[in-house]
Amino acid sequence: MNATLVSDHELVSRAQQGSDKAYRELLGRYQRPVFSIIYRMIRDREQAEDLAQETFVRVFNHIDRYDPRYKFSSWIFKIATNLTIDWIRRKELNTVSIDGSRNAVTAEQIEATSITIASPDENPEELLEAKELGKEIEAAIGRLRPEYRAAILLRHVEGLEYQEIAEILALPLGTVKTYIHRGRNELREQLQHLREAA
């Protein structure tokens, strides 16, 4: 059996029957997108890893509660965004560095917790430019309201439809569209200096 060809629903069903392999396949499919969205929201690698871990542990330990009428991805993103928004509200996190965890003190820690944002095909100049642009965009996203951040990232980083985002964030469709519109407007204003420089 090739597990990669199996649907999420089938994998969940096997996980519910106690298949370790099914859990690991689900983890393999979603660890990157779940971590990615959490990391983009809080921009702290260590904390993002903790929150992503907590997301998977909650989902897997309550796998019997999964409602097959909805996508598994919607369920896991919902838990991930809820946990992250709660965490942001608790910590009142506003600014963090893309060059590593806020908790990193030494050069080694900064290096270990920083994230590479460029593709290997780029030359050093393009690499620097992309890194600068990435920094600017990520910093601007980090200044948005947590709900706007989640909606923008689900839409443009994960490429989800508005309806699915509404299900994930438990918001009416119109509110999601408004959040994304306002979020983009704020990003545009924050990145105005880049347009002027170009």
Binding site: S13, Q16, Q17, G18, D20, Y23, R24, L27, Q31, R32, P33, F35, S36, Y39, R40, R45, A48, E49, A52, Q53, F56, V57, R58, V59, F60, N61, H62, I63, D64, R65, Y66, D67, Y70, S74, W75, K78, I79, I115, T116, I117, S119, L133, G134, I137, E138, I152, H156, V157, A166, E167, I168, A170, P172, H181, R184, N185, L187, R188, L191, R195
Partner: protein, 210 residues
């Protein structure tokens, strides 16, 4: 389609950039864009922002992530799939003695019915009709007795009179009652607004927060 400034609203430009406009709206927007440098620049800016967001690379967790998760997961066959058979199994007898008891529970009423038929000298079918008639008559008598006793108890205890007095005490619609009515209507406005807000904020799906 244009706003008070004579330009396309940014919302429309975003929809155009995302391909969310209808054919007719898109034609109108494109017509305006051909003669408006400002809106063309705004559209380019909207497209650039969306492209920049979509080009953000995915971040990956550390190599030990999967093992750290699995170390905290309790793997047990809870199972939605096994829930239904498990529930059925709970109610089914597990031992031969249990099966015999279940069979006996099913057969005893038939045995009683046969005995009743033999005793009255009628066939089991007509005997069953007689039993049904008796049970129906008894149920009807008990129900009527309960209603009659209940009514009598209400009258004797004075509860009936108290209720009647209470209803008589409610004043009819007069001008004096108008301010009270207005106050009640005023109070109903924030209550309905609150109820509407709750309804609008209600989750659109049955997805659960684990």
């Amino acid at each position: 389609m244009t706003d008070a400034t004579g330009h396309l609203p940014y919302w429309t430009l975003e929809q155009l950039a995302e391909g969310d406009l209808s054919h007719a709206e898109r034609t109108l927007a494109e017509q305006h864009l051909r003669s408006c440098a400002h809106c063309s620049a705004e559209l380019a800016s909207a497209r650039a922002l969306i492209a920049a967001l979509e080009s953000l690379p995915a971040a990956a967790p550390s190599a030990r992530f999967a093992d750290a998760v699995m170390a905290r997961v309790v793997i047990a066959p809870h199972t939605a799939a096994a829930t239904a058979p498990a529930a059925a199994r709970r109610w089914l007898p597990r031992l031969t003695r249990g099966w015999m008891a279940a069979l006996a529970l099913l057969l005893v009423p038939f045995a009683v019915l046969m005995g009743f038929g033999a005793w009255t000298g009628v066939s089991p079918i007509s005997g069953m009709a007689a039993v049904w008639q008796a049970v129906r008559g008894w149920t009807r008598d008990v129900a009527w007795n309960l209603i009659a006793e209940g009514t009598e108890m209400l009258i004797r205890s004075g509860l009936y009179q108290w209720g009647a007095d209470l209803l008589n005490g409610i004043p009819g619609p007069t001008m004096a009652g108008l301010p009270v009515l207005l106050l009640m209507m005023l109070a109903a406005v924030p209550v309905s607004a609150w109820a509407m807000a709750r309804l609008l904020r209600a989750p659109t799906t049955g997805l659960m927060h684990a």
